[in-house]
């Protein structure tokens, strides 16, 4: 963590320079594609623009969650709720949070980085990210497309899979962290 991050109590790592390099690389890729395949490049830009519009609500929720986390949740509290020693209770809480979260995973990275730097466990964060595959609001659509048996089976199995992943991450990542 950089001095700035430490001062701000911010994300787990400084993403500033790495983020700019990543963005620069993608922009260069676009520039190359625009030269050789202009139609694909324009289609990609249009798809990216529509994705950006869909992000407005989730990002607003993430900003609100970040503000509330900074305001009310102290590192000790986060550690006790979803820390590496929070046990099954912490994993179930992470699973519930993942199920209820909306928007794409990358919109939640700033909050997860903060939770991690405040003592959140690797397993619990992995459970959150896996639990996002269960979308309560989309269950009727899934039932309509694939039927009850498929929907119930995959939902239950994803919930179990999330907990298994959390355990594996705690064992494999936590041991070397």
């Amino acid at each position: 963590m950089t001095k700035v991050d430490a001062k701000q109590g911010g994300a787990h790592r400084s993403t500033g320079r790495g983020g700019l390099i990543f963005l620069g690389t993608v922009v260069v890729a676009y520039a190359i594609i625009m030269v050789f395949f202009p139609a694909t490049g324009l289609q990609a830009l249009s798809l990216a623009a529509s994705t950006s519009l869909q992000l407005l609500v989730p990002l607003s929720l993430v900003f609100a969650a970040l503000l509330l986390t900074n305001l009310f949740l102290k590192p000790q509290k986060i550690s006790s709720l979803v820390g590496s020693n929070s046990g099954l209770k912490g994993s179930l809480l992470s699973l519930l949070a993942g199920i209820l979260s909306v928007g794409p995973a990358y919109a939640w990275y700033p909050l997860l980085g903060t939770v991690r730097s405040h003592g959140g466990g690797a397993g619990q964060i992995a459970v959150f990210l896996y639990g996002r595959a269960i979308k309560p609001f989309l269950l009727p659509a899934m039932i309509a497309y694939f039927g009850w048996v498929f929907t119930l089976s995959i939902t239950g199995l994803v919930a179990v899979g999330a907990l298994v992943l959390g355990w594996l991450m705690a064992e494999l990542h936590g041991r070397h962290a």
């Binding site: 983020g19 994705t51 990275y109 990542h173």
Partner: protein, 161 residues
């Protein structure tokens, strides 16, 4: 005692954050957020590029028909593609209508959300490279038994595979 000091003491007693705390928390949140903006922009652009480069009509040719290989192909495809989960349902319904197995569909739907190749750089920058690679690899592997078991439950209930 001034009115301001009185208010501050009252706030401290109630356990509720004061105005200064709210401003500090908002500034911190804004800093954390802007720090992530280049990554978010990069991921959104990269996802647009992947969606434009891989047309849904080309996807059906990737599945050989073997349960395990179909699960692997479905999981691989779901890891590369990204977007709203409803899109994965629509693509899956089309693939299912084209004769692709339920093994592939289940793995595809699970990895669509849980594994993100395009998001990997962003995840590595915020949560660490080791975390991102390990989480995505394990999520990919876990999707295979989930797909096989989903298909098993479908078969037990009399559904088509």
């Amino acid at each position: 005692m001034s009115t301001q000091e009185g208010e501050a003491k009252q706030v401290a007693r109630s356990g509720m954050p004061g105005r200064g705390d709210v401003i500090r928390a908002a500034r911190k949140a804004a800093f954390q957020f802007t720090n992530m903006l280049p990554i978010l922009c990069g991921v959104v652009l990269l996802i647009g590029l992947l969606r434009a480069a891989v047309p849904p009509s080309a996807l059906g040719t990737l599945f050989p028909g073997d349960p395990f290989l179909d699960s692997l192909a479905g999981a691989g495809l779901g890891s590369i593609l990204a977007g709203n989960p409803v899109n994965s349902y629509v693509i899956s319904a089309q693939l299912l209508a084209d004769g692709v197995s339920i093994f592939a569909i289940a793995a595809f739907i699970v990895t669509w959300v849980t594994v993100g190749i395009a998001q990997l750089p962003a995840e590595a920058l915020t949560l660490g490279t080791r975390f991102a690679i390990l989480r995505n690899s394990l999520s990919f592997l876990i999707s295979i038994p989930i797909a096989l078991l989903t298909a098993l439950f479908m078969a037990l209930s009399g559904g088509a595979l």
